[in-house]
């Protein structure tokens, strides 16, 4: 990593969980966040333009009210006193009502337009981030953990939602009020106006201090909440193990520590606000005192009217109130900024297995798999596959055996392109997998593993997962073929039975059968079974194997199994050790020879003979 340039080093999610990043990097991150926000807002340019108009109108209307009040006091009252009637006063009051109405209408328009933009942006962001997570490689997910995926898509997105909903409103209103009020003050009376605006540099300094401090504080808040979320989700997902092994006290201890860190981070940012907000208030109150004294003196000398003084007091209140909103806005901005930083980082992560720019069409895959000089390693120093050349003709059933860690699973993961080789090529029907688009590849290659994830929904939904348009008859046929039909029909509701949270009410074996049915229904050219029968009892496994004979006819299959019983349906056996194929041939020939496979086979026979 030392030689990599800074930019590359901090690409993607690298900056997460870093407490302080170099200045240059934090600029880079901010730039990235800004770019994302820009992209998200761009489609709404016209709505934003409308928003600007509405906001300007609303503020002009709002700002005119104290001015009209001053006018009323200075011209309306004297006219009344002189007995010239209510005319002027009524006109002014009418104007105030008009201004109030205009402000109300524009305000409502503003809330609607900004609300719509905010929700549109959120929806788009949700879609984008979700889609991107789904595209990222398994190795990314393994490192990133699902807890963080969840916190990106929930609390981070919601932080941004808050910015878009409340934050913008606050900021836009505050800035416009600030500028508008300043202008009005100077128009009303230059001297008094200058006195009223004298503390502006102080305001600026205070705001800058607050912005810097709260940036750090909020980053910390987001980090700590992410840790709370990760721990929470993980311990709830693994609650069974936690309870069985009396892990609860330790879990509680860890959780309370993380929770305490989160509390401390929150309290810190809250305390920053506790200093900043009253600070602003103090500046405001001092200014009001100054204006009262100086303005009073000017009024006494008849240099300003009482109406102007009244307007000043009204305006000053408007002037400092939004400053509070600005600091509120910084809160939301900071949390949204930190969230945006991470979300843009996720979006920047390159999908480990990139989609080809010019995909090669492969309408009907035959299923010939070739490994040409393939090298693979998860970490650079530890090669998993040093150099693999392998030719699997279409339609062949290959069993891969070998000790744990021999590289069997890596081979099949390369075929299903969960990873790309470090060097060399994996080909399907002579086409490099990297040249196939995902849809084509997934239609052609399907893998069943020992982890059988069931999604919430019905049993039928789960079997249809790979082919959602399959008619019920096909679903039942697939389930029947693997022997899952009897137990499914026994469920309350049969195929329409809800599987519950991650198939909680089914046994591991039942879930595996459903996963099998799912794979068979998908009807791929290449079917990969990675320890897929390990949870089945012997009769079920036998049933599955019998089904395999028919199902695998005319299909390429790669089967990893520890039970050599699976080997009987294989045309060919590969024995792997240390990432290399050490024996290769039809099973009976390997048994007849006296290599490793023969040894394994003898050991297996012995384990069976134990059963009598």
């Amino acid at each position: 990593m030392m030689t990599v340039s800074t930019d590359r080093q901090w690409q993607g999610v690298a900056a997460e969980n870093q407490d302080d990043v170099p200045q240059k990097v934090s600029l880079l991150l901010r730039e990235r966040s800004r770019r994302l926000l820009g992209e998200l807002l761009r489609p709404h340019r016209r709505a934003i333009a409308r928003l600007v108009v509405v906001v300007l109108l609303s503020n002009v209307a709002g700002l005119s009210i104290p001015y009209l009040v001053a006018l009323g006091i200075d011209t309306g009252i004297p006219a009344l006193a002189r007995g010239e009637g209510m005319g002027i006063t009524l006109m002014i009051v009418g104007s105030i009502l008009g201004a109030a109405l205009a402000q109300a209408l524009t305000r409502q328009a503003f809330l609607r337009i900004s609300g719509r933009i905010g929700q549109d942006v959120l929806l788009e962001l949700r879609r984008r981030v979700f889609t991107h997570f789904q595209r990222l490689s398994l190795s990314f997910h393994e490192k990133y953990t699902s807890g963080r995926v969840i916190s990106r898509l929930t609390s981070d997105v919601e932080a941004l939602a808050e910015l878009l909903q409340a934050g913008f409103d606050g900021l836009v209103t505050a800035v416009l009020t600030l500028v508008g009020t300043a202008v009005m003050l100077l128009i009303l009376d230059v001297h008094l106006g200058l006195v009223a605006l004298a503390p502006l540099p102080l305001l600026f300094l205070a705001t800058r201090w607050f912005r810097r401090q709260s940036a750090l504080a909020y980053r910390r808040t987001r980090e700590t909440v992410a840790l709370v979320i990760v721990h929470f989700v993980e311990s709830m997902t693994g609650i069974r193990a936690a309870q069985t092994f009396r892990r609860e006290p330790r879990n509680q201890e860890i959780f309370e520590q993380l929770n305490e860190d989160y509390r401390a981070a929150n309290a810190r940012s809250m305390h920053l606000v506790a200093i900043f907000m009253p600070g602003i208030k103090l500046i405001g109150n001092v200014t009001i005192a100054l204006v009262l004294v100086y303005g009073g003196w000017l009024a006494f000398r008849q240099e300003v009217t009482v109406g102007v003084l009244a307007a000043f007091l009204l305006y000053l209140r408007q002037f400092y109130e939004p400053m509070q909103e600005i600091s509120q806005f910084y809160n939301t901005l900071q949390s949204a900024g930190a969230a945006l930083e991470k979300l843009s980082g996720v979006l920047e992560e390159p999908p480990g297995v990139a989609e080809p720019e010019h995909p090669v069409p492969l309408p009907a895959a035959r299923g010939a798999v070739t490994f040409a000089g393939v090298r693979f390693s998860y970490t650079p120093d530890i090669p998993i596959l040093p150099e693999l050349d392998l030719e699997i003709p279409a339609g062949q059933t290959v069993a891969v055996v070998g000790a744990t860690g021999a590289g069997k699973t890596t081979v099949v993961k390369l075929i299903s392109r969960f990873y790309d080789p470090v060097a060399g090529r994996v080909l399907l029907d002579g086409v490099d997998l990297r040249d196939l688009d995902e849809a084509t590849l997934r239609r052609a290659v399907v893998m069943v593993t020992q982890e059988n994830f069931l999604f919430s929904g019905t049993v039928a939904d789960n079997i249809r997962f790979g082919r959602p348009d399959a008619p019920m008859a096909d679903v039942v046929a697939a389930a029947t073929a693997v022997g899952a039909h009897p137990f499914i029909s026994g469920l309350p509701g049969g195929y329409e039975a809800e599987v519950g949270k991650r198939g909680g009410r089914m046994s591991a074996g039942q879930r595996q059968l459903v996963a099998f049915a799912r794979a068979f229904l998908a009807d791929p050219a290449v079917l990969i079974l990675d320890e897929a029968t390990s949870s089945l009892d012997v009769p079920s496994e036998r049933l599955v194997q019998r089904a395999l004979r028919t199902i695998l006819a005319g299909r390429t299959a790669v089967i990893i199994a520890h039970r050599l019983s699976t080997v009987e349906i294989a045309d060919r056996v590969l024995v792997m050790a240390d990432g290399r194929v050490v024996e290769d041939g039809p099973p009976d020939r390997l048994i007849a020879a006296s290599g490793r496979f023969a040894g394994l086979h003898t050991a297996w026979l012995e384990s069976l003979s134990a059963s009598g």
């Binding site: 009344l80 105030i96 609300g115 929930t154 929470f232 693994g238 007091l313 009410r505 012997v538």
Partner: protein, 584 residues
Amino acid sequence: MSADDEPPSAPSASISLWRLRSYLRPYVGTLIVAWLAAILSIAASTVIPLVGREIIDGPVVRGDQGALLWLGALTLALGVVEAFLIFLRRWTQGFLVFGVETAIRNDLYAHLQRLPMSFHDEWQSGQLLSRATTDLSTIRRFFGFGALFLVMNILQLTTVTILLLRMHWPLGLLVAVSALPIVYVSIRFEHRYTVLSRQVQDEQGDLATIVEESALGIRTIKAFGRRGHVFGGYDEVAGKVYRTSMAKVRLGSRFFTFLEVIPNVTLALVLLLGAAAVAGGGLSLGTLVAFTTMVLQLAWPVAALGYILAMGQEAMTAADRVMEVLDTPPSIVGGPVVIERPRGHLRFEGVEFRFPGADRPVLRDVTLDVRPGETVAIVGATGSGKTTLTALVPRLADVTAGRVTIDGQDVRDLTLPALRSVVATAFEEPTLFSMSVRENVTLGHGQASEEEVRAALEVAQATFAYDLPWGLETRIGEQGMSLSGGQRQRLALARAVLGHPKILVLDDTLSALDVETEALVEEALRRVLADATGIVVAHRASTVLLADRVALLRDGTIAHVGTHHQLLNEVPEYRSLLAAEEVV
């Protein structure tokens, strides 16, 4: 816990929130300081315009220069005091609100850890998470600001209105009357807003659930290339959230605007009538200025009232959702008994188990006596209830009839820590946490020595852990994803055998191992099981041979018990379950 003594009557939203008040108890002192500071700061800010009136009516109109400086100094002093009081309130609240939030979250977590598997099987962790984070923040915001400002604003509204009434009662009355439509609309708005808030919250929970599934099931999704399908489901719910949020935006935009327009209209009327009064000599100019300033001062509290009510509504629904979890009784709680020197005599007596609402029991009339040191294998077809049977021993689920005893004590009478230190289970699907290998293995035995850990890893043939990049300190990913299935199973097995449990439950723990490793593990397990009572769920003859006796489970009840060879010779069903697989 907040209020265990509350009767379990139909929990209305506001009651849920009220019940959380006990969390404020440790902060009573802080609370008093914060509220006092708030009240005093409002008093200070109310007085400032009155001083302004004195300046206009005194020095300006009558030309009293000395008073001008004096009143100016008073304004300054009031301003400084107000700022300090605001500081005091916010500073103390920083401790208070986050302290309360943290305490509730800790309790929620503790409660969730106590709730049985039956609860966790039903509840997605995404739903639980949104309660522990989003909902608690909502409650915190209300406790911290909402409740305070609700009272402050009402207080400010009343005092200012009273002041105005005293300054000039017709104008004061006008201001007071103008508050009526606001109150009326607020109450109506409140109800509709609640419904929408709850809906958004629920939909966001659903969205979180989909996110969770999509992250945990990523391998399956990728294996079938079903991104589009999963996205479709996600997008549908995201669209729902969008539409409900938009409805909320529309409702809010009408209401908030209404709240802002009323004070301005009032101001116009005050000016109209006030001008007439000043001209008629019934009102001083300074009073009119003070009046208008104070009417504008009311604008914010009135407008904020709407936000606060909305916040209160959200807090109530959030509290409801939190209490929903906290009110779920932990149906599996320990008894008082600790077995001092457990022998490990395990008995199932007429055990029945059925899922709530299911018509057929999963287990019925299971009676089995496992003597200390004996190992019994449980054999049965897929779905015959084997895993459920094993879950009853460490009380991951409770029998619905009959009982399970250890050394003659009903497991329900034992304390949970005592029970679960006597019983250790290795599941077929090993759950590994994202922490070091060592922590994963010593899950229940934080104090385990280096030798004990090594011994456990050796029994489970999991010494590969020493060869990981950082040895036992290597962090393994969530669910141990970076390890193979077999490796994970072996670590989970090491976890179970660590600390020599008296009763060892192995639920098809060796299924993902290759034959050679399995043989080695079995060899080592034989030694462990020699001085432990064992329940071994088995699919393979080789595993069955670890046991002294075999119980054949059929349709949720024990059909036969005997030695492996007896059953093999006498029971055809058993033969078909375990007989030699068709040899090549």
